[in-house]
C-alpha cells in the first residue's frame, strides 16, 4: 500500500477516536463553541499553532522560498509578527468581553441590531473566502498524494470536517488541531535535523550553495512580489489581519481567563514561529538538494517542495526511507487542511447559528439545548456548502480568495474590532461604515487587480490592503461622525472598559 495513504488512515482513525471522545463531552452551547473554556494555555497554544498554519504555510512558504528566495522568507515572518498585535491588543480583551464569537464583542459594546448584522457579515465573508481555497487546495493535494479524484477528495475532506465539528464541536476541533500541530512540528524538527546533518551543522553552506546555483539575485527581495507596494500590503495584511480572522480569534474563548489567553499567545509564538523560521531553511535546502527545476516540475507553484525535500532527505525516490518521509509529510499536509477547515466551519456556524439566528433573529430567546442542536445543523449545512463550492472551484484561480480573506480581515474586521475596544465615541454607524467600506474596497480592488484579471488588471496590486485598510478606518470614523453622538453608548463605555481590561461584568 502507498505509505501516504497508510499514514493518513492512521491519522484519520486517531481524529475519529478524538471526535467520539469529544462528542460525549459536548452537550451545552459553551461546550460546543468554546470547549467549556477549560483548556490550558499550552493546549490552546498548540491548537492555535494547528489553526494558524494552513497548508499555505506548511507547504507554501517552503515552496515560495525554494523558487523565489527571500520573498518566501517574508511570507513566513509575517504570521509570527502578527501575533504581537494579537498579544498586545486583542487576545485579553477578546477573552474578557466575548463568549463565543467576534459578533459577541460588537454586540456587548453597541447593543444594537445593525452593528451585530455588520459583524456577522464580516465573519461570514472572511470565513468563506478562506474556506473555499482551502477546500480547493485539499482537492488538489489529496488527489496528488493519494490518487483519488479531485471531487472525491473534496467530498472526503468536507465530510471529515462535518463529522468533527457537528459531533465534537470545539473540543474535537481543538484536539484535531493539537494532533496536527504535534505532527507538523515533529516533521519540521526531523527535516531540520536531517538538513543540518547534510550541511555538517553549518547552515551558511546552504546560502553559499544556492547563491552559486541560482546567482545572488535569488537571495534578493522582489523575485515574487514585484511591486514594492505588494510587499508592504503583505506585511500590513498579516500584522493587522490576523486579529480580524474570526476562526483564529475565537480560540481565546477556550481558555478560562485573560492570563491564560496571554500565555497561549506566547506558546503559539514560539511553536509556530520556530516552524515558520524553519520553512526558510527548508526552502533553501529544497532549492539546493532537490533543485528548482524538479520542484517546478512537480507543481508550478512550488507547493510540493517540502514533500520532495523530505523524500530526498529520507534517501531519495524509491527507497523505503524516502517513501516514508514523503508519506509522512504528505499526510501531515492533509491533516493540516482538516484542522483549518474544521475551525472555519465551527466559527462560521457560530456567526450564523449564535449571532444571526439566536441573537439577531430571536433576540437571544432560544433555549440552550435547542441552540446546540441548531449549531450542529448549521455546521452540517456549511460543510455541504463548502463541499459544493470546493467542487465548483476546480480550475478556478482561488489564490485571489486567500488574499481577499486576509485583506477583508485587516480592512473591515480589524478597524471595527479595535475601535470598539478603545474608542468611546465609536458607535453603530461606525461599525456599519467600517465594515461596509472595508469589505467593499477589499473585494472591489482584489477583483480588478492582477490576481483576477492578469494582464488586463485595472489596478496594479495583487493585495490591496495598503489602500483598503486606511479606507476601512476612514469608513469607521466617518460612519461614527455621520451617525451622531450615542450618549447612552458613551456612558456605558466605562463599564465596558472595566470588562475589557478586567473581565468583570457589572450585575
Amino acid at each position: 500500500m502507498n505509505p501516504t495513504l497508510g499514514i493518513f488512515i492512521v491519522i484519520l482513525l486517531i481524529t475519529l477516536a478524538i471526535t467520539y471522545w469529544a462528542a460525549k463531552r459536548t452537550s451545552t452551547t459553551a461546550d460546543f463553541y468554546a470547549a467549556d473554556s477549560r483548556l490550558t494555555p499550552a493546549q490552546n497554544g498548540f491548537a492555535l499553532a494547528g489553526d494558524w498554519c494552513s497548508a499555505a504555510a506548511f507547504l507554501g512558504f517552503t515552496g515560495l522560498t525554494a523558487l523565489y528566495g527571500m520573498d518566501g522568507a517574508f511570507y513566513a515572518l509575517g504570521p509570527l509578527v502578527a501575533f504581537c498585535t494579537v498579544l498586545f491588543l486583542i487576545a485579553e480583551p477578546m477573552r474578557n468581553t466575548g463568549k463565543y464569537t467576534l459578533g459577541d464583542i460588537i454586540r456587548s459594546r453597541m447593543q444594537t441590531r445593525p452593528s451585530l448584522l455588520a459583524a456577522i457579515a464580516g465573519t461570514v465573508v472572511v470565513n468563506f473566502a478562506y474556506l473555499m481555497p482551502q477546500m480547493a487546495g485539499a482537492g488538489v493535494l489529496v488527489r496528488l498524494l493519494t490518487g483519488i479524484s479531485y471531487d472525491w477528495a473534496v467530498v472526503f475532506v468536507g465530510v471529515s470536517m462535518i463529522v468533527y465539528v457537528a459531533f465534537g464541536g470545539m473540543l474535537a476541533t481543538t484536539w484535531v488541531q493539537i494532533v496536527k500541530a504535534v505532527l507538523m512540528l515533529s516533521a519540521g524538527a526531523a527535516i531540520m535535523a536531517m538538513i543540518l546533518a547534510q550541511v555538517h551543522f553549518n547552515p551558511l553552506t546552504l546560502f553559499a550553495d544556492v547563491e552559486q546555483k541560482y546567482t545572488a539575485k535569488y537571495l534578493l527581495p522582489g523575485n515574487y512580489l514585484k511591486n514594492p507596494f505588494d510587499q508592504i500590503s503583505l506585511g500590513l495584511g498579516y500584522t493587522l489581519g490576523l486579529a480580524g480572522l474570526p476562526h483564529v480569534m475565537t480560540r481565546f474563548y477556550t481558555v478560562p481567563d485573560a492570563k491564560a489567553a496571554r500565555r497561549s499567545v506566547v506558546w503559539v509564538m514560539f511553536l509556530a514561529g520556530s516552524f515558520f523560521a524553519g520553512t526558510t531553511l527548508f526552502g533553501l535546502a529544497a532549492a539546493d538538494f532537490v533543485g528548482q527545476d524538479a520542484v517546478r516540475a512537480a507543481d508550478k507553484g512550488g507547493n510540493l517542495a517540502l514533500p520532495l525535500l523530505a523524500q530526498y532527505l529520507g534517501g531519495g525516490k524509491g527507497t523505503l526511507g524516502g517513501d516514508l518521509m514523503l508519506g509522512f509529510v504528505a499526510a501531515v499536509a492533509v491533516a493540516t487542511i482538516l484542522a483549518v477547515v474544521s475551525a472555519l466551519t465551527l466559527s462560521t456556524s457560530g456567526a450564523i447559528a449564535h449571532d444571526f439566528y439566536v441573537n439577531w433573529f430571536k433576540h437571544g430567546q432560544v433555549e440552550g439545548r435547542k441552540e446546540v442542536w441548531l449549531a450542529r445543523m448549521t455546521a452540517v449545512v456549511i460543510g455541504v456548502l463548502a463541499i459544493a463550492l470546493g467542487i465548483l472551484a476546480q480550475g478556478v484561480n482561488v489564490a485571489v480568495l486567500v488574499i481577499l480573506a486576509i485583506c477583508v480581515a485587516a480592512s473591515a474586521n480589524f478597524p471595527v474590532l479595535i475601535l470598539s475596544l478603545f474608542w468611546r465615541r465609536f458607535n453603530t454607524g461606525g461599525v456599519v461604515g467600517g465594515m461596509a467600506v472595508g469589505l467593499v474596497s477589499s473585494v472591489a480592488l482584489a477583483m480588478i487587480g492582477p490576481a483576477m484579471r492578469g494582464a488586463d488588471a485595472l489596478w496594479p496590486l495583487v493585495n490591496p490592503t495598503v489602500v483598503s485598510l486606511p479606507l476601512g478606518f476612514l469608513g469607521a470614523v466617518l460612519g461614527t461622525l455621520i451617525w451622531g453622538r450615542d450618549l447612552k453608548n458613551e456612558q456605558r463605555f466605562d463599564a465596558f472598559l472595566l470588562q475589557v481590561h478586567t473581565g468583570i461584568t457589572l450585575k
Partner: protein, 106 residues
Amino acid sequence: MAREEAALEAAYGLVRQLIAEKMKYLVPMTILFMGSYIGLTVLAGFARDFVGTRMIGSVNLGFFLIALNYLLSWILAISYGFIAADKFDVLAASAATEVSRAEATR
C-alpha cells in the same frame, strides 16, 4: 447608593490608570515591532540593493534583518508576559476589589 457609586467610580479610575499604564508600555513596544517589520518590507520594496548587502558569507542584510525580527518578536512576547503579570494584573485585581465592594454595599 452613594457609597456604591463612589466605589464604582474608584474602580473606573483604576481602569483608567490601568489603561494609562498599558499605553506606557504598549505604545513603544508596538512602534518597535511595527516599525521594524513594516520598515523591513519598505526596504525590501524600495531598497533592494541595500537589502542585498552581504553580511556573513552569502547571507545578506535582508536575511539578517529577518532573523532579527524573529528574535525581536520572541523577546517582546516574553517581556509582555512579565510586564503584564507585574503591572497590569495588579491594577486589574484592585479594580476587581473595588467592584466587589460596590456590589457588597448594594
